[in-house]
Symmetry: C2
Subunit: 422 residues, 2 copies
């Protein structure tokens, strides 16, 4: 495993040293290869799909999981299109972030560079392999991928097709890992792997976070809140609350807890609307009494389903305290027509995304206009909230001089000017 | 310990919610209090200095360590001045990084915010307490501080003076921790503490890195290289190599390994100059034969002293391979008059700082013009190289709309425009 990770690092460095045009050409070759070898890919995929159908029939796999496996023509076309869009996008590597003239003839630059080696662990959907490989090539990173065993045949053929397309440049840049024991070994390699990105359910993310010292980009929980202020417009409150909960209840940016100001005049109608939409509600002490709800067991809970907690709060500060106490720092929204309450909420809530009169479902890399989404991070370092390809970059400092020494500064031969050029 | 960390988080949030002017006023109060209570501070400091003198006499403490303890008038004046400079600097919080109109009436912003709670562990120098507390207040972060036991009395009085100056705003924002067992407990609190910054020797940093899942900002090793190319100007090569090694041999940015192109015509003179400067040299197989040096045991070694490894290499690629194999990713420099070799070195060396014709000693936050230095990071995520106050910040996304739902986009009521405003 160490040899494989070191090979990915070497290959990533090689890839990063090429021009953006060469990386774009590699992405075009990947797209063309996927397109040309569609039959071979779909044949392997059919094996996984058939095996999954058997497991579903035996009750050993959920239908939802099995439904994510098939690589239809439309899905493959989407992947080809996605790789071509990445190929056409601006080169993210080498972007100048800062330039300073430290003194006469001595200039310092800070530019974006790839992080190094990424380990991406995903479940079920084999199309994720292609998307992540594309992002890694675009950003010049070495990549180790581990897919779910239910997609083993699909992943193998996709990996082979992409590696062959990459081989003129750097075939080792994407490595495929197949077993759980290999993952355990990789999670130990904090000196070679720089970032782990688990793309899957809470259990996977939590397991990864607890099993490694390598930084993890992602989030285990999405306990998102909507706070309906006493000055909320009732139609807007209902639209935002329903969208936040019911648009896609399994998403991490779906509302899990509704906080309602206890002086909001339309609280009963709002709760009734949620019930009509089929949402099971669990209330805190006041809410369960007032709205006749079952008691909530723990406000820090992600239902991931048509269900939500409800709490009545005494005002803005109580709402924010509730969010800080029980939330996961993912996404929260206030609905109010009071600009002071809105601005206080936006200023004080300590979450990755904080909204005013907007559904929590907007917390998403595509909706934010970031292009491809690497994941949504609730961590407070490196990248926070929806993360685009920029989350796969770090920076490097370079300086060009002509014999500059610190001793000469000490002797007074020259002085720092620190003139900021960029 | 958890209660103390949670108090620091609450206090940090409170501090961050105030205006930049209020944080600057707090820094001014801290400066004034230090100045006014100088006698009380120096009395406590004298106890530590006397105890250290006894330990030095008994051979139980190094003179170097003891020398860092005294809080002279000049040191206190420097600290007061430093806090006032921080107070006058621009507010780093709330800086607008990105603004996008997602669609009609829906605007998204990304702004800088504090990370949350920092744990800073430092050794010996009590002045570090004041510097770090100043940076935490400026950046709106809660702070837990652990100083060395040799500076216990000094740290206690400094903490008391600063906490009193902060008390109108947020006295809990800086917490002082005194024992090792408390540190072990704090390092477990990865759900409350967001970043650990160990400021001290390699052993401390390594211990912290191996004891926590909290992200660590810093570096355990500084195995920096200077590569003297065959086309190097001999006077410049000598000046840069000597400065990199001898200006301050204990610094993390000092040269530990000299790489010399085997066709560099002035290699013998360069090695002789290092020997004349009192530098003990240890060679790889070729270098030890050619220059009559003791054999090096391990090229991944930080001497931190007037000593260095020397290796003869066959050219640029061999030099870069050596750096990637044995280096620590801190700082490397090439000396050459060949612009192609220089640009290839700058492009390909995968370290935090990479220089051309510049001493490695320039890798430093002050010399880079970053203002106060939080530390030098060799990690590849969050912050890399010398880190200023920006390394204590993360970002947050806010969106303002008027009832925007994702369902309305799906129904075709409106479309994303993703117009980038900033």
């Amino acid at each position: 495993m160490r040899a494989m990770a070191l090979a990915a690092r070497r290959a990533g460095r090689e890839l990063a040293s090429r021009s953006g045009a060469e990386r774009s050409a590699a992405l075009e070759r990947m797209a063309a290869a996927l397109d040309a070898r569609r039959a071979e890919i779909q044949k392997a995929n059919a094996e996984d799909v058939a095996a999954a159908a058997d497991l579903v029939a035996q009750g050993r796999m959920s239908e939802a999981l099995a439904a994510r496996l098939p690589l239809s023509d439309r899905k493959i076309e989407g992947l080809v299109e996605g790789l071509r869009t990445l190929a056409a996008a601006d080169d993210p590597i080498g972007r100048l972030l800062r330039k300073t003239r430290l003194g006469e003839g001595l200039e310092l630059e800070q530019r974006t560079v790839p992080i190094g080696v990424l380990l991406v662990i995903f479940e079920s959907r084999p199309d994720a392999l292609v998307q992540v490989a594309g992002l890694a090539v675009k950003s010049g990173n070495g990549l180790l991928l581990k897919g779910g065993k239910e997609a083993l045949h699909s992943n193998r053929v996709l990996h082979r097709v992409l590696a062959e397309a990459l081989s003129p440049l750097s075939p080792d840049v994407v490595g495929l890992v197949e077993t759980r024991s290999q993952i355990s070994e990789l999670l130990e390699l904090d000196d070679v792997i720089d970032l782990v990105i688990p793309r899957g359910g809470n259990a996977l993310v939590r397991h990864v976070q607890q099993s490694t010292r390598i930084p993890v980009l992602g989030h285990a929980d999405g306990v998102c809140h909507v706070y309906v202020d006493k000055a909320a417009d009732p139609a807007m409150a209902e639209a935002i609350v329903l969208d936040s909960k019911t648009d896609y209840p399994a998403a991490c940016n779906a509302m899990e807890t509704l906080l309602v100001h206890d002086a909001y005049p339309h609280a009963d109608a709002l709760v009734a609307a949620l019930k009509r939409a089929g949402v099971r509600l669990y209330g805190g002490p006041h809410a369960s009494r007032r709205f006749h709800l079952e008691h909530v067991e723990d406000f820090h809970h992600e239902y991931g389903d048509l269900a939500a907690s409800v709490a009545l709060v005494g005002g803005l500060t109580a709402a924010i305290d509730h969010i800080h106490r029980y939330g996961s720092g993912h996404t929260e929204s206030i609905v109010t027509s009071d600009p002071k309450a809105a601005e206080a909420f936006l200023a004080r809530v300590d979450s990755a995304s904080v909204f005013h009169n907007v559904s929590t479902r907007f917390a998403d890399g595509y909706r934010y206009g970031l292009g491809a989404e690497v994941g949504i991070s609730t961590a407070r370092i490196h990248a926070r909230g929806p993360v685009g390809v920029e989350g796969l970059l770090t920076t490097r400092w370079t300086a060009r001089g002509s014999g500059h020494t610190v001793g000469a500064v000490t002797r007074g031969d020259w002085q720092f000017t620190h003139e900021r050029l960029v």
